[in-house]
């Protein structure tokens, strides 16, 4: 079930919302949100609900252990065992075939007959996200950054909250702990308008901008070898904006849905294409992931010591970040590419920061766009072919729907580079703005009825 689906708008959201506010006690509301989270997840594959429950239970028990024991050895056990369990699940479902495939390629290169069979493993949707939720809870409990909860339903509500379950943002327990504690005292009317505002804007970004661009560039990418240089640039620019509006649109919808239930989900995108350097970009793009990578990988690796160790740790962190996105060497390369860019920036920060603002923003955007070539490509051959098309003049076929793509690129560029993001808006709309948003919402409904439903890009991670 997708947020941009009729089943969600008609069948899931209304009863979930109405019954939630009809229930009065904390426990009832925790249980209801937990139940609806599992129902939401079961629409993808009900069998994997057991996996999520297992991860939840293990992490909850680890939290109880942290509460009970002060002994460093026992606390470390409560830290390591559940994290290993979570990573084992993630590793098995997400990376087994990647490892086998890589082993086969290496063996082939070395002339060893290996031929390890590829297993038929279905990737449980959202596993990368909810395992990060549980891991962050365990680590924060160990570090005493949060007080673990004794209430199982409060914790399971946190893990299975449907608004963030399958594609983030990666919300740490401490970020919504207060809202969860006060869930029985939440003010429905105060957050109603802001919630719907976020949700509507997110839906418009996803359905009208991201999906329209996707409808044009996806067929072109299927036959990318036929593209001209201009076509390749148009498609890559399209993908750059599609990814942003798709993912930030989803995050906005998640934030809006959180508000409808009295939970404030933190910002995940802060106008990343306005970044002035690559480090600034990672402070604005998928903020929940980049802060997790910083707090749970980069900082533990060590932030003191010689510069080269710092740079090494940046590279390791970004390589892991790339690998998190998918079981493909192109993602790892993409992560490493950004790691190298961050290191280069750190080495030349003073010189870079003296450059004109417009140049820094344009150059940062250009570097990020090049990285997206690897992110989008199925393999290195496709990435290199696309780069060759982009950087050596090639006549080719025009992109079908080119006029609409041009228009969408202008709109997307205007909004991404110069417009306010949803967290910068007051969400206190005048009647004319309400009419405009309502009209666009109706257009979204028309597209949801008439077009082909497209999932959110980050679902595959």
């Amino acid at each position: 079930m997708l947020f941009n689906s009729l089943a969600f708008l008609y069948g899931f959201l209304p009863p979930t919302y109405l019954i939630f506010w009809w229930l009065k006690t904390k426990k009832q509301r925790y249980m209801w949100l937990t139940l609806t989270g599992y129902v939401f997840y079961s629409f993808w594959n009900y069998k994997f609900c057991a996996l999520m429950f297992f991860s939840t239970l293990v992490s909850y028990l680890a939290g109880l252990g942290m509460l009970k024991w002060d002994d460093p050895r026992r606390r470390r056990l409560c830290l390591i065992v559940p994290i290993m369990a979570d990573l084992a699940l993630l590793g098995f479902f997400k990376y087994t075939n990647f490892a086998l495939d890589t082993a086969n390629h290496i063996a082939q290169w070395m002339g060893i007959p290996l031929n390890a069979p590829v297993l038929n493993i279905v990737l449980p949707i959202g596993i990368s996200f909810y395992t990060f939720h549980t891991i962050s809870y365990i680590v924060d409990s160990y570090r005493r950054a949060i007080t673990p909860t004794r209430n199982f339903f409060e914790f399971s509500c946190y893990v299975s909250l449907f608004s963030q379950l399958v594609a983030g943002p990666i919300v740490r327990f401490g970020q919504i702990e207060k809202d969860l504690e006060n869930i029985d005292r939440a003010d429905r009317t105060r957050t109603l308008n802001i919630g719907w505002s976020f949700f509507a804007l997110g839906l418009i970004k996803k359905v009208l901008i991201a999906d329209t661009i996707a409808a044009i560039i996806d067929p072109a990418f299927k036959d990318y070898a036929q593209l001209s240089t201009l076509g390749a640039w148009a498609c890559m620019l399209g993908y750059t904006y599609q990814l942003y509006f798709d993912f930030s649109g989803y995050s906005d919808m998640a934030v809006g849905l959180g508000y409808l239930f009295g939970i404030r989900i933190p910002q995940n995108f802060n106008s990343p294409y306005k970044a002035t350097d690559i480090s600034d970009f990672w402070g604005r793009w998928h903020i929940s992931l980049s802060t997790c990578l910083r707090d749970y990988i980069f900082i533990p690796l060590g932030i003191r010591g010689p510069r080269w160790t710092l740079y090494r740790n940046v590279l390791i962190t970004m390589l892991i970040g790339g690998l998190w996105h998918g079981a493909n060497w192109t993602f790892v390369f993409w992560g490493g590419y950004h790691g190298v860019l961050i290191v280069l920036y750190r080495m030349n920060q003073r010189r870079w920061d003296r450059l004109p603002l417009l140049f820094r923003r344009a150059a940062t955007f250009f570097l990020v766009l090049i990285g997206w070539v690897f992110f989008r490509s199925a393999d290195f051959k496709m990435a290199l072919d696309l780069l060759q098309l982009m950087f050596s003049w090639t006549p080719g076929v025009a992109v079908r729907g080119g006029y609409v793509l041009s228009g969408m690129l202008l709109i997307a560029a205007g909004l991404a580079h110069f417009g306010p993001n949803t967290f910068e808006l007051r969400h206190d709309w005048k009647p004319l703005s309400v009419c405009a948003i309502a009209a666009l919402f109706i257009v979204c409904l028309f597209v949801m009825y008439g077009g082909e439903q497209s999932p959110f890009l980050y679902f595959q991670f």
């Binding site: 009729l6 708008l9 109603l192």
Partner: protein, 358 residues
Amino acid sequence: MKLHRAWQLGFVLPMIIAIAFLADVAMRFTPIDPYTFRAWEAMTRFPAPNALFEANKRYYNARTYGNLAGLGNLPALRQYRSETFSTDAYGFRNPPEASDGRPVSAIIFGDSFVVGNGVNDDQTLSVQLSAATGKTVYNAGGTGASLENIRALARRLKMSQGTIIYAHTGLHQLWAGASGWIWLNGLTTVSPLKVASQQAYRTLQNDLLLPNTYTSNVVQARLLNNDVTLFRPQDIRRYYQQQPDDHLINQWATLAAELRKDNLDLLILLVPTKYAVYRPLLKEGQGPEPADGILYLDKIERRVRESGITVVNLTPTFRAAAAAGLDRKEYIYWLDDTHWNADGIALAVVEIKKVLKQ
């Protein structure tokens, strides 16, 4: 100053969702005929028990067009024609006289070719065969030709002897008879609002505004006379790859033996696909003929004859007629559809009549 509730998104957007939902539900109780481009979808929404179509329903569309033009979203290749599609009390496509109690001489089973997809009521195979033979022929197209179905229908039509004609096109389609909550199924699975929205959205997918992502659903090919015709990719694949299924032929042999006990004769009618007929008349792009040089239906014909069952293979006649009519742009299949037209059906009737006389 705080705005009135009616001007706040927290009120407006849920209202829009509620109105859209109610409109969707309300429209489901209306006929979908105005939203359909052909009869099939309108007639199959509330099927009669053990039938494919709604009983006692009449559908008329002055501007219907072919399924392939629809599948590929190709408005420029549509061949507009009118279509009248009527069903009897049992949910089959027959004129009133076929089920008014008069003796039935033959029942025809098969898929959409037998149903008469794309032709009018008076042009279907059963009606043309009735007119040519002077006997009543019943159209049971769209229902499975199992022994139980055949016997049940023969009993219902009080058919004590005669011919059961089974039209085989190479597709092993057997539609299960409708049962259970037919009405609820028809309401929940078909949304007129969705259909209308999809049609409107498809007009935007014209390769100018948005890419037409449906073109890969069909294959466009040019005939020797420069006309463009459409095929289904699977029909082209089957032409080159399909082999006779022994299990199917054994089933027919068993069926023939059982029907003889009821004084019923079985006649297998082999109907070639449009690609099988028009392949020799295409300008370019066709693959080599099958390695052994024998077409799928020719192999079926041989095996069926060896089983002692009467068989009519339309492939040679159709190929000859298609070639003869090419220069005059006279076709026996619709250019924008998978199915034969009235002329193709008339040709089939001639061949069946020859065999029935024997």
